[in-house]
């Protein structure tokens, strides 16, 4: 089965690389390990939530606004899409990720349409 591991953060968290923030080397090491396991089938890393742009269209026209969006409780920082046998394997990988210690990892099964 395919799962997305969504690395979630909060706007108040220290930034990666800052003194108080997470060690980027931990993320690099995890990235190397999960890639070498041969299970990664997709994924992405995102720039910070302050770079987000929202677009919504209504009958009145399109609204374009720029982040950060104070009302967002949490944001997606990045994702791995992995193909593993079952949710237990996905959970095991999520536990290994440094993202689980800093924010949390949300595991979502990929819909099979």
């Amino acid at each position: 089965m395919k799962y997305a591991l969504l690395l979630m953060g909060h706007p108040g968290d220290a930034e990666c690389g800052a003194d108080e923030g997470p060690d980027p080397r931990a993320f690099m090491a995890f990235d190397q390990e999960i890639n070498e396991a041969g299970i990664v089938v997709g994924g992405f890393a995102l720039e910070g939530p302050e770079t987000a742009v929202r677009v919504s269209t209504t009958t009145a026209g399109a609204m374009v606004t720029s982040g950060p969006f104070a009302e967002s409780g949490e944001f997606v920082g990045g994702s791995y899409v992995i193909e593993v046998a079952d949710v237990d394997e996905a959970i095991a990988w999520a536990k290994k990720s440094p993202g689980a210690a800093l924010g949390h990892i949300e595991i979502r099964p990929i819909a099979d349409y």
């Binding site: 089965m1 799962y3 046998a85 079952d86 949710v87 237990d88 996905a90 099964p109 099979d112």
Partner: protein, 427 residues
């Protein structure tokens, strides 16, 4: 499931197989095809076909194996005709079986080549699937009762006082979650077993405590959840004989169950431990529970259930309330509060301090807990305070504590008991 057919020898046999072996057959099919719905459907179909075929041609040498093979072949037929199921099951290495042609023509010969031992016992795997941490607690409880205790959806619904449609929806959603989330079927690894057994035991414990709450109305029609929980724990102990905590839980449930006849009087009012007629305790259950507790308590893997069983054993061993070994009970509550810190355990420990070291020590232990917001609205906390205050010759304070208890949620029988206590204090 065959209760509505004419009582014939075949129907009776099928009925007893349904009661005795259904869980095992269902677990084997679910383990094979990773699909509880499919397993249920094909087992049901196999039972229906058995009634026809066996009535016509006689009962096969090994009826269980006949059912298993018939159900399995029907499942393969369904999978072959359903592209989505076939894709989902592609990883299960059943392709070779899928291409073996039609199995349905020689069903009368089925079961000759397969013995019951070959079916294997997949019920442990099914226990772990149904109590997977990604399922909601009430889904786990419903699934375990439905698929491991073998209750019908209507029986599970009645046990939880919800209507059958609601319970049916809950079970359907839970089964869908198993498939969509990718909750595995299959034997847990030793690490998974170690990590998740407490979760499995907790589901069974919750089923037992659900059966504990007295409810008004047609209680004699209600499924006996305590009995079901004890049967499930027996099954787990049989599957995992070396696991201390499984035996500890069985001991705890047996010893708790044994005291049930003395716990309420003829009118259903609660009777406190101090006043219970110990001759009403079920000596057979106590003997079994004591034996299990004694063995489990000496093992290195003894955990919270084993410690609670040991506490229950000390109560059960005391011929009268005054002979209770409170010193030892205090030691065990101290161990328990380190293993599993919780306000209720802390409360029980404070009560044990009072019994072992006198009401003054008990009172100060209780006062230390008074700031915990989880206890300030908890009726047994205020009752314990009231009783200890009364023992300390402080009737005014005791009365105030009883009145605080009355302000907390609880059932009517308890409220009447508290009001009686207040009347006794004032007289």
């Amino acid at each position: 499931m065959v209760s509505d057919v004419e009582p014939s020898a075949v129907a009776r046999l099928l009925h007893s197989i349904g009661a005795e072996d259904r869980g095992r057959l269902l677990a084997a099919l679910a383990g094979r095809f990773h699909d509880l719905d499919l397993a249920e459907d094909v087992l049901q179909e196999a039972m229906v076909r058995a009634l026809e075929t066996w009535t016509l041609r006689g009962v096969p040498k090994n009826p269980q194996a006949w059912l298993m093979t018939t159900a399995r072949n029907r499942a393969l037929d369904i999978i072959r005709s359903d592209a989505a199921k076939a894709r989902h099951l592609a990883g299960l290495r059943i392709e070779s079986e899928l291409s073996r042609g039609d199995h349905s023509d020689h069903s009368d010969r089925l079961g000759e080549e397969l013995s019951t031992a070959d079916i294997g016992d997949e019920r442990l795997s099914l226990f772990f699937t149904c109590s997977h941490p990604t399922l909601h607690e009430r889904e786990r409880i419903a699934l375990i009762l439905r698929f491991l205790a073998g209750l019908s959806t209507a029986e599970v619904a009645a046990a939880f006082l919800v209507d059958t449609t609601t319970m049916q929806q809950r079970i359907v959603r839970a089964k869908r979650r198993i498939t969509t989330t990718g909750i595995p079927f299959g034997t847990p690894t030793p690490e998974q077993l170690h990590e998740r057994l407490p979760g499995v035991l907790r589901v069974v414990y919750l089923i037992f405590t659900q059966g504990f709450t007295p409810t008004s109305g047609a209680s004699h029609n209600r499924t006996d959840l305590q009995e079901e929980a004890i049967a499930l724990t027996r099954l787990l102990v049989g599957l995992l004989p070396t696991k201390t905590e499984a035996r500890g839980l069985l001991s705890l449930l047996l010893l708790t169950r044994a005291r049930a006849p003395a716990r309420t009087d003829a009118d259903g009012a609660p009777v406190p431990l101090t006043e219970q007629d110990r001759s009403l305790w079920d000596s057979r259950l106590i003997a079994e529970g004591l034996g299990l507790a004694l063995t489990a308590a000496g093992e290195t893997e003894a955990g919270p259930y084993t410690v609670q069983a040991a506490i229950a054993a000390l109560h059960a061993e005391a011929a009268t309330y005054s002979e209770t070994d409170w010193e030892q009970i205090l030691v065990l509550y101290s161990i328990l509060s380190r293993m599993e810190p919780s306000p209720v355990v802390a409360l029980n420990r404070a009560v044990a301090i009072g019994k072992a070291k006198g009401p003054k020590a008990g009172l100060s232990a209780l006062e230390e807990l008074a700031t915990d917001p989880r206890l300030s609205g908890y009726r047994p906390f205020h009752i314990a305070r009231a009783i200890t205050l009364s023992e300390s010759q402080m009737p005014d304070h005791a009365e105030a504590a009883f009145r605080e208890a009355l302000d907390c949620p609880g059932n009517d029988a308890e409220s009447e008991y508290i009001e009686d206590q207040i009347r006794d204090l004032l007289s």
